[in-house]
């Protein structure tokens, strides 16, 4: 199984599977402990300067937006980020707290390219950028989630996406075919927003699960925010709905409308005006700073953030989701 070619991108977070096992043995309690805390405490305890951090799902969809804003609010910096994102990563990049980036896609979907990304990368403010495909980076999470150092994949091959990644092309020793190997990506911290969780961290998601399964298992520290906190009995009634078992979780934050301005399937629809406000504000550095001041720095917490929109508007987002069922 010869290595035929190696991507020249920086391996920003080299995997150490044995150290990960040791971490999971020593640092992750098997006790059913109450992990419910507010977003301030969760972020303060588990995020740190320079940490390698990831967010699930995707900007405007079941994204941990309240936690994302709290990371900026607490002034953490030099983040190294697994970069598939829309609003959530765009905020971090705009706030200047990202140092290195494993990028797959950062943009504004229907609203086009991210101006914040352009400013931060073109100026060299983000020091290192390594390329991956969406599946490639999720398979990196999956490798870590499986507890193995790499996975073979059949995309990325033959392209500059491969050349500027840290993947390797090898010959399969069973068939002789060429496959790309992507290294496991073990996160220092992951933020995931779910439909419901109990106080211990047992978490359930309705509808598509994005890459929550993989990311939750690939992280050393995992903060869950949830639309609803439910009794453990409710979890035990439908154990086949549990995507994230408690022992993976370090903190549970109750965050209704935690994905705002994005949507939460079956709970509320996206707040189009609020999304557009960011799209427009982020076009300029000044607009960006004004937005961050208003929606992040000048509000003490998620509750106060929601207060800027008001109950009536939020109720309408819920009603629209209800109407679609």
């Amino acid at each position: 199984m010869r290595v035929l070619e190696s991507g020249q991108g920086e391996l920003i977070q080299p995997p150490d599977l044995d150290e990960f096992r040791e971490w999971n043995r020593a640092k992750k309690s098997r006790k059913l402990e109450d992990k419910l805390m507010d977003e301030h405490e969760a972020i303060r305890r588990f995020v740190f300067d320079g940490c390698y951090i990831g967010t699930e799902l995707y900007g405007t969809v079941r994204a941990p937006m309240s936690l994302t804003r709290e990371v900026i609010r607490q002034g953490f910096k030099d983040l190294r980020v697994a970069g598939q994102g829309v609003l959530e990563l765009d905020l971090w990049i705009a706030a200047g707290i990202v140092k290195k980036l494993d990028i797959t896609y950062i943009g504004l979907e229907v609203y086009g390219v991210s101006k914040a990304l352009r400013r931060a990368v073109e100026s060299g403010q983000i020091e290192s950028v390594t390329e991956w495909s969406n599946a490639g980076i999720t398979w990196r999470f999956k490798a870590a989630a499986m507890g193995v150092p790499f996975l073979p994949i059949r995309s990325m091959i033959g392209t500059d996406t491969f050349r500027y990644s840290a993947a390797k092309l090898v010959e399969d020793p069973f068939t002789g075919m060429k496959v790309c190997l992507v290294p496991a990506l073990i996160l220092d911290v992951a933020l995931i927003h779910v439909h419901r969780a109990d106080r211990y961290g047992n978490a359930q998601i309705d509808g598509i699960s994005g890459f929550a399964f993989e990311m939750a298992r690939a992280a050393k520290r995992l903060i869950i925010s949830a639309e609803e906190i439910v009794p453990t009995d409710e979890i035990r009634r439908h154990p086949d709905r549990t995507i994230i078992p408690y022992y993976l979780v370090d903190a549970v934050v109750h965050a209704p409308f935690g994905s705002h301005p994005g949507e939460m399937a079956y709970h509320y629809v996206r707040d189009e005006d609020a999304i557009k406000e960011w799209v427009e504000a982020s076009a300029t550095e000044e607009g960006t700073q004004a937005y961050l001041k208003k929606y992040v720095y000048d509000v003490p917490d998620h509750q106060a953030y929601l207060g800027l929109f008001g109950k009536e508007r939020l109720d309408a987002l819920r009603a629209a989701a209800e109407a679609a069922r």
């Binding site: 390219v113 990304l117 091959i157 033959g158 500059d160 996406t161 500027y164 598509i208 994005g210």
Partner: protein, 253 residues
């Protein structure tokens, strides 16, 4: 026949590339409108597959993101990205729709950077699922604004593989055999790829567009066959459904 915009025609042409009872990997934007239009017209059993887990949704309302609830409403399955991408890797996805800032004559696409890699002149979003779709689906169809700036002799960065450097190059590199781009739906024409050379070939121009217009707006040498057809304009049905049912808010059209 009503008036229509090049974007509207592009959506209709893209929709016509989606046969009934096939699987199609649908990304944000034009492919969503095209898939919805196809389902409402000739392809009621088009099985839409969305990157973050939705399979077989009925696209009654237009989704704005590839993970949102409309991508798995009344769907047959709602799983996650690894399941979807591995389904493509196993050869179950017939069509994939792609876009990019640049395309070359072999259908290679760039959505990563203009200029060198780091720091670049212009930083674009990156591969997203593009590279995976272009590597793993059987056939890909690119949807492109037609201009010299976009149809270039050499892309600055191969984000997503077309035929790479030509015939046999995909297989030689290690990509799954039998895959590759088959069509380009632009704002001026429908293009394909020559069997032999794997180079881009003009198939049909849009009404009111000449072959010379297309050549003029293409930065590399296109194969021009003896006979170049003209794309059928949007039918009244297509336009009505597009405007009244699919995008009444005019987000795209």
């Amino acid at each position: 026949m009503s008036d229509y915009s090049p974007i509207e025609l592009m959506i209709c042409v893209a929709a016509r590339q989606m046969p009934d009872s096939t699987t199609a990997f649908i990304g944000t934007g034009i492919p969503m409108l095209a898939a919805s239009l196809a389902q409402k017209l000739h392809a009621p059993n088009l099985v839409t597959v969305f990157e973050f887990g939705g399979t077989g949704a009925m696209l009654e309302e237009l989704p704005l993101a590839v993970g949102e609830e409309r991508t798995f409403r009344k769907a047959l399955a709602a799983s996650g990205i690894t399941d979807i991408m591995e389904t493509a890797q196993r050869g179950f996805i017939d069509y994939g729709f792609l876009g990019g800032a640049q395309i070359d004559m072999y259908g290679n696409l760039n959505s990563t950077v203009i200029g060198k890699h780091h720091p670049p002149k212009v930083r674009l979003p990156g591969s997203g699922g593009g590279n995976d779709v272009g590597s793993l689906c059987w056939h890909t169809i690119a949807i492109m604004q037609h201009s010299k700036r976009r149809f270039v002799p050499e892309v600055d960065f191969i984000t997503t593989p077309g035929y790479l450097t030509g015939p046999g190059a995909r297989e030689e590199a290690g990509l799954p055999p039998g895959t590759g781009p088959i069509k380009v739906v632009s704002t001026m024409a429908l293009l394909g790829f020559d069997e032999e050379t794997k180079r881009m070939r003009l198939e049909a121009v849009y009404p009111g567009v000449t072959v010379e217009d297309v050549i003029e707006n293409t930065g590399f040498e296109l194969i021009i066959p003896d006979h170049v057809g003209t794309v059928e304009p949007p039918t009244d049905d297509e336009l009505r459904i597009l405007r009244e049912e699919i995008d009444p808010a005019g987000l795209y059209i």
